[in-house]
């Protein structure tokens, strides 16, 4: 029998998280192909003498399925069709990327293009070109982001606290949903209240079955809708219990109550449901996007969505998901750009999938950033989750990119969570929906997730929802209850959302509210990108917000931190002269040691480090002598200076941050004997060993060199900012006019 076990290198590679993901061989018969399947039609558009479409994308009108027919009747600007359909694919693709061709011109042309035409043109764009195209083509100038706020128990108090938290972090839309359909009304109310506690003008939706979602909207309990799903094949559309006409009516129904809505599509869903008709993922999505425009929806959520992992499994899948979003923008619609359903177990891969979209900027970078814990996300884990909020904020800072989020300070979030949970408790009591125990409220405020709330009762949201529906509670009642319970600010905020339904300004493409309740949309905040120096650029207070993360530290922060460990341990004995004792080993310490810096990067006190070095020398029968070197921050020169003053000719150099070496008087500054370069990981035992080796060198032996404590940590990422500050502090302590000084160390 032969041993079939792979070699160690491959065993190691196999164990990496990316290998938990599924990768499919392209298979056109299953629709597992990103772009340009053999069965994708050649683009065509034929009109009769009366201006009616008689053929589209290779199919005669008599053979049109429901989707073809709706697009042909409503979706195309036939006055530009001849022009755009005749345009060479690469020529069109170049115009999309060309900063000298205005967005409006691309919008004009795209309006006449059939799904197959756009699918083919966009398949020409490479990744970097998609970034530029997206930067230019998105509708709203200012990017934004959407959060998921859900939990396993539909706990109203936690929903409110988490909605307030999401609003505090800058999300301008919040989407909730339910594990238990009957809980939907309670979730809508709790999230709306929480969002209003967190910020002005946050839009809220509750994603449930179409009719119930509309009902919640009509009662004012939510302020927008998104779960209006459309599909690229007739079979799947009907399986979804809808037609383009029923969706068109639904679209109008929302607008008739003054509510924003968008439709949801997303490539790969047809393949997932086994009816892709041998078409490519991207072509079927092109049909969805054309249909969305034909329906009169202001926007689309797409880019994989629930089938993101299907797109992700085929070659070019991430590129096709991004191209889906770009196609929405070219149809002059709001783009809510996926990055919601988790499409990889690998942090590298999921970041890679999002990053080009993040740097281009979209109307909503995530169509559901899981602002809560993964296990509490009732849509399933998101591409980005609560554990990634700091990462996302820091990515914004790294790239000077506005991804829609902002930092929030812990005391502020704690206060908002308390107010949100209390507001829901008081309103539910006022409306006779529920009575919450104090212990539940306190657990919800502190909770990082629903597992931290053993006091939650699963029947409470169900019962509250039943009462909301039976007694026809509307948002007007919720506003009245908030006001009566002393939450006038939040009552005013939710009333302002109701006023917005009367104004109708947020029915326009890509509308959100800023925190003064101004509408920002295609109409009021149009994207005007035309190359460097144009378009959106974070500036002023927003730039300061992006740049300021809670983890940042300054030199003065570090100085304060060091001062907290200050002690009076060193006394200057006098100017250091040339030693003559052959057992003497000098320890040169940097100028800030025990003056401005008392703690090394590994968290040891400089006194303890010196004790270890001295003890190591003593073990070898040597005598340590501490000398402060006042004229240099360079460790090599510190060590060499100490060696030259040392009776044995051997010296140890020690910077206050903990970096240490052994030097000899006849060597050049950079050619030391042994060096501990990774100060953050040096332990007391290693300092003692360094002392021992220095003693052995002093006695003329050749000791076994010490091994630096390397690890797989990003040591430099962790400590380099501190190093910069510590070196700056060292410099302020230099006194070149004073020569080396002998120090006495006291405990």
């Amino acid at each position: 029998m032969t041993d079939t076990q792979p070699i160690g290198r491959f065993r190691f590679m196999d164990a990496q998280r990316v290998n938990l993901d599924g990768f499919a061989v392209e298979d056109q018969s299953l629709g597992l192909i990103a772009f340009n399947a053999d069965a994708d039609p050649d683009p065509s558009l034929v009109l009769d003498g009366g201006g009616n479409v008689v053929e589209m994308d290779g199919r005669a009108a008599t053979d049109f399925d429901l989707i073809d027919e709706f697009i042909a009747r409503h979706g195309l600007d036939l006055s530009v069709s001849a022009e755009v359909m005749a345009l060479d694919d690469d020529d069109f693709a170049r115009r999309i990327v060309d900063i000298n061709v205005p967005r409006a011109e691309i919008i004009r042309l795209t309006a006449g293009a059939t799904p197959a035409k756009l699918a083919r043109v966009l398949s020409r764009l490479r990744a970097a070109e998609l970034v530029i195209a997206m930067t230019k083509m998105r509708a709203r100038k200012t990017p934004s982001n959407q959060a998921h706020v859900t939990n396993r128990s539909d706990d109203p108090l936690l929903l409110a606290a988490d909605a307030a938290t999401a609003a505090a972090f800058g999300f301008r839309e919040i989407e909730t949903t339910v594990p238990v359909l009957g809980d939907a009304p309670s979730n809508a109310v709790a999230v709306s209240i929480g969002a209003a506690v967190g910020a002005v003008g946050v839009l809220v939706q509750c994603s449930v079955e179409e009719a119930l979602e509309l009902e919640l909207g009509m009662a004012g309990l939510v302020s927008y809708a998104e779960t209006v799903s459309i599909y690229g094949t007739e079979q799947i559309f009907i399986d979804g219990d809808d037609t383009p006409w029923s969706k068109a009516l639904l679209t109008s129904a929302y607008a008739s109550r003054g509510m924003k809505m968008r439709v949801t599509s997303g490539g790969g869903s047809e393949a997932l449901m086994g009816a892709a008709e041998n078409r490519s993922i991207f072509y079927l999505e092109a049909r969805c996007v054309a249909l969305a425009r034909a329906l009169g929806s202001q926007g689309v959520q797409n880019g994989g969505i629930d089938a993101a992992s299907v797109s992700g499994s085929v070659p070019g899948g991430a590129r096709s998901m991004m191209a889906e979003n770009l196609m929405v923008m070219m149809r002059n619609l709001e783009a809510c750009t996926g990055n919601d359903a988790l499409m990889s177990e690998s942090d590298v891969r999921r970041t890679s999938r999002t990053h080009p979209i993040f740097i281009a900027g979209t109307d909503f970078v995530c169509s559901g950033f899981g602002s809560i814990q993964r296990y509490d996300n009732m849509f399933g884990p998101s591409q980005w989750n609560s554990e990634d909020i700091d990462d996302f904020l820091i990515m914004q800072r790294d790239w000077t990119v506005d991804g829609g989020l902002r930092s929030a300070a812990e005391p502020d979030v704690a206060r908002l969570r308390r107010r949100a949970a209390n507001a829901v408790r008081d309103v539910y009591r006022f409306l006779g929906l529920a009575d919450f125990q104090d212990v539940w409220v306190e657990q919800a405020i502190d909770a990082a997730g629903s597992k931290d709330i053993p006091a939650a009762d699963l029947m409470t949201p169900l019962e509250a929802s039943r009462i909301i529906r039976q007694s026809h509670v509307t948002m007007v009642d919720v506003v009245a209850a908030l006001d009566a319970c002393g939450y006038e600010i939040e009552a005013e905020r939710l009333l302002a959302m109701l006023h917005a339904r009367v104004d109708g300004d947020y029915l326009h493409t890509a509308a959100i509210f800023d925190e003064q309740m101004n509408v920002m949309s295609l109409v009021t905040d149009p994207n005007d990108y035309a190359g460097p120096g144009t378009g959106y650029e974070p500036a002023g207070s927003r730039l300061a917000e992006l740049n300021s993360v809670r983890q940042q530290r300054s030199v003065s922060d570090l100085r304060d931190e060091q001062a907290a460990a200050a002690g009076d341990h060193f006394t200057v004995v006098g100017a250091a002269g040339q030693g003559s004792d052959p057992t003497e080993v000098s320890i040169g310490v940097s100028a800030a040691t025990g003056r401005a810096i008392w703690t090394t990067l590994s968290g040891l006190s400089v006194v303890d480090v010196l004790d270890e070095l001295l003890a190591g020398l003593e073990e070898e029968g040597c005598r340590g002598r501490i000398i402060r070197i006042n004229d240099t921050v360079d460790l090599g020169m510190i060590g060499l200076t100490a060696a030259r003053l040392s009776g044995s000719g051997i010296g140890i150099g020690l910077q206050a941050k903990g970096t240490a070496l052994i030097h000899r008087r006849d060597l050049s500054p950079l050619a030391n004997l042994e060096l501990y370069s990774v100060a953050p990981t040096v332990t007391p035992e290693l300092y003692r060993a360094l002392g021992i080796n220095a003693g052995r060198h002093a006695k003329g032996a050749t000791p076994e060199p010490l091994r630096n404590p390397y690890s797989d940590m990003a040591i430099e990422a962790r400590f380099h900012t501190k190093v910069v500050s510590l070196v700056a502090i060292e410099r302020t302590c230099l006194k070149p006019e004073i020569g080396p000084e002998d120090l006495e160390l006291r405990q």
Binding site: D77, W245, L250, S252, L495, H499, V502, L507
Partner: protein, 120 residues
């Protein structure tokens, strides 16, 4: 300032009026004229389909919630016969909702052609 479907101005819909119990959802629902005006804005911003949607919506403002929900249900696959859809369209025409009526007539033809209407 905007006027709601009820004819009331939003400036008059305040916390004070809510405290007095004088506000209903009708006072915070959009007026058809506002939707017609917003349709013009959509048209000017290169989206005639959004404009058409807003014009259909203007018609639906005058139809009660439960009827709108019932119309949506009627348009779902296999729920209505072709004749029922045509009758619905006719009644909408009578209620000065011609755009919505046209949409439903179109659906009736398409459903008949593709065989997704309820069998009579």
């Amino acid at each position: 300032m905007s006027t709601a479907r009820s004819g009331r101005d939003t400036t008059d819909v305040t916390l004070d009026s809510i405290r007095l119990g004088e506000v209903t959802m009708d006072d915070v629902t959009i007026h058809p004229d506002t939707l017609i005006r917003q349709a013009e804005v959509a048209y000017e911003h290169a989206n005639p389909q959004l404009a058409e949607n807003l014009l259909r919506a203007a018609e639906l403002t005058l139809i009660p919630d439960d009827e709108v929900l019932a119309m949506y249900e009627a348009l779902r696959p296999g729920r209505s016969t072709v004749d029922e859809l045509r009758a619905l369209a006719t009644s909408l025409r009578d209620r000065r909702a011609p755009r919505t009526a046209a949409l439903i007539e179109e659906a009736a033809d398409a459903y008949a052609r593709r065989g997704i209407a309820k069998q009579a």
